[in-house]
């Protein structure tokens, strides 16, 4: 599992590659938490290279979302595919964390959904 991130405006875009299972989830969580600061308004998780996500992975996203929300930030996921997309659908994760098909939509202020 690898995490890359880049800044776009006041948003941080994290691209996760590989499998987000239990061990990877805690790594992922600490990587993201390391990179965000007070000025981060928006976090987008790009799942285009994510092959698999376990419940621990989902949980790590939830924890990040919780922290972001507390800081009045906003977290969204985008570009889900394959098994990951299926998991999100079954668990209705998109009801908790906004999920979009494209990166642009995830960054679009107008489409911002506050939970």
């Amino acid at each position: 599992m690898e995490v890359r991130f880049r800044k776009q405006g006041s948003a941080l875009i994290f691209t996760v590659t590989g499998r987000l299972d239990t061990v990877a989830a805690s790594e992922f969580q600490s990587e993201v938490e390391k990179s965000i600061n007070n000025e981060t308004e928006r976090i987008v998780i790009d799942c285009s290279e994510l092959d698999y996500i376990s419940s621990a992975g989902l949980r790590s996203i939830l924890i990040i979302a919780q922290k972001t929300c507390k800081a009045n930030g906003y977290l969204a996921c985008c570009r889900l595919r394959g098994l990951v997309k299926k998991v999100f659908e079954i668990s209705k994760f998109s009801l908790i964390v906004p999920t979009f098909d494209t990166l642009e939509e995830a960054l679009d202020d107008k489409l911002r959904q506050n939970r």
Binding site: A56, L58, I63, L83, R115
Partner: protein
Amino acid sequence: MLHWFRSSIKAKITLLVLFTTSIVLAIVLGFTGIFSRSVVQSDARSYALGVAEVTAGRLAKELSSVAMVTRNLAYAIGYGQWDKRSIDELLMTIVKSNEDIYGSTVSFVPFGFDPTLKAYAPYYYKKNGMISFVQLADSYDYFKRDWFKKPLETGKPTWSNPYFDEGGGETLMITYSYPFMEKNLEPIHQMLKGVITADISLDHLTDMVSGIKIEETGYAFLLSDKGDLIVWPQKDLIMKETIFSLADKLEAPKLRNVGEEMLKQGSGFLDAGRSLTEKESFLAFSSLPDFGWRLGVVIPKHELFAQTYALEKILLIFGVAGILLLSTVSLMVARSVSAPLKRMAHATEKVGEGYFDVDFIEKTRLDEVGQLARSFVSMSKSLRSFMKDLTQATANKERIESELRIAADIQKSMLPSSFPAFPNRNDFDIYALMRPAKEVGGDFFDFFLLDEDHLCISVGDVSGKGTPAALFMSVTKYLIEACTTVDTPIDETLEKINKLLAKNNATCMFVTVFLGVLDLKSGDFVYANAGHNSPLIWIQDAPVAFLELVGGPLLGIMDPGLFRVGKTTLVPDGRLLVYTDGVTEAFNVEGEPFSDDKLLRTVERIRGADVKSITEKVLREIDEFCGVVPQSDDITIMALNYKPDRKDRDGLIPERTGTGPMAQI
């Protein structure tokens, strides 16, 4: 022996030192022996050859001086007028004054002295220290003798071969014969008048040769050009044997070789073996040129090499003493290493058995052994404290493990485990199993009768696995059991539970749940879902399909969850298979998941089997699929079969088979 060598440093060092120094000593001794011997030998060779040559030269000189005397005598006789008396006097003087000359004669040709005397040959010689006289003419026919004939025939002086002059000197001698002529006449009238001789006795030659002293028992001898023994240590063999006949008599082929070699060369040096002496000896020889005689000088080897032997003996003694000393020292040094090592090896065993109290007296030494001793002691101390920590940690671990085991037991007993679950109900069959990935799991299943006509089933999957998930799971399971009633709409039940779970959930734990209630009279099935996988449903001849799900997200996060009610009807013999994602997300070696499709096909194949068989078959399929890959997530499978045809009621509400806070309604 080899084993002892290999098993002891002491032995190795000592034996190797012993062995190596012995070899070195042997080599040194060998070399010095060979070298000194060859030096001595070549010195001896030079010396002996020198002696031989000098002696031969001296002999030759003496012989030639005798020849000279004879020649002068011949001239004197030839030129003078000599009568009997003057000749006698002359001869007497010659013999007396020349110690080399044994005897001398003037022998005339027939009628050469006196026309009336056919033979006249006065002869004076030394006998027993006195001058004696014999008239050879009276003794024998001297005309026939070689010493007379030869010079007259050749007109030249000659030396004779050694011979015994019987009737004359009565001794072994050689004779120089000089023919003389009457010189007073005119040359053409000069004719050979007779022969003048001088004899040299072999005794005298022997005396001359015996004067040569070589070492203690060395000696010289003289051979003629034919090998006759002219001067020989065994006097009785002189002129009786040649060196060759002697060799044959003694059966000593080496002696023959010596003789051959001597006669072949003019001078030389050779190893005579035991042929000339009792012990081994060398032979140097030279020749008297005019005679072809050979003078041999015999040098006994043991006397020659006496000093080198002594040197070698001393070297050997010192060498052996040195080796012993060296061995002793090396033994001591080796022991100073091997003894502590042995003790340390022993101590290592003790440490292995748990005795960490070790100490060595060598720890004060400054060398490697001392270092080892100090390291060993410090290591033992570290080990002791490490063992203490380890014992502690192991005790802790065992405590945790035993608690986990108890937790696993508790969890196991939480879930319904006795089957058939409702033995006195024939209108439905239900079977389920949960296999955790670790000791305790985060999945659960439950089923219980809400009342005589309503069966509640639930399957849930807590995020993560292990003890944290197990805690959350037990809360969820009991909440479901507590909150589900026949009267409450099932979506509201879920809502209530969701609210309770979301309330104190800082760690964002969540659980997916499938909850359903089956009306056992009508077959109506109401259900609600919180982020869980669609159960499989198959009725009559319809293909196995996924139950259509509507509803909210996983429980515990979002409040409200906005859950919805689903409805379907189970026609008699209809079946449901509820499961968790541990089934569909079981991965094999290639990283492929078991998948919905495979589950569907598996169930389709066994659609008609009983609930136990279906459940176990699905589990077996998963295990086969995964192969060696260890189980990564908790697996839960529940199969329900609604078969209301044969109903058997006895009017009682059966007990709930699970144990928990609410045992009975």
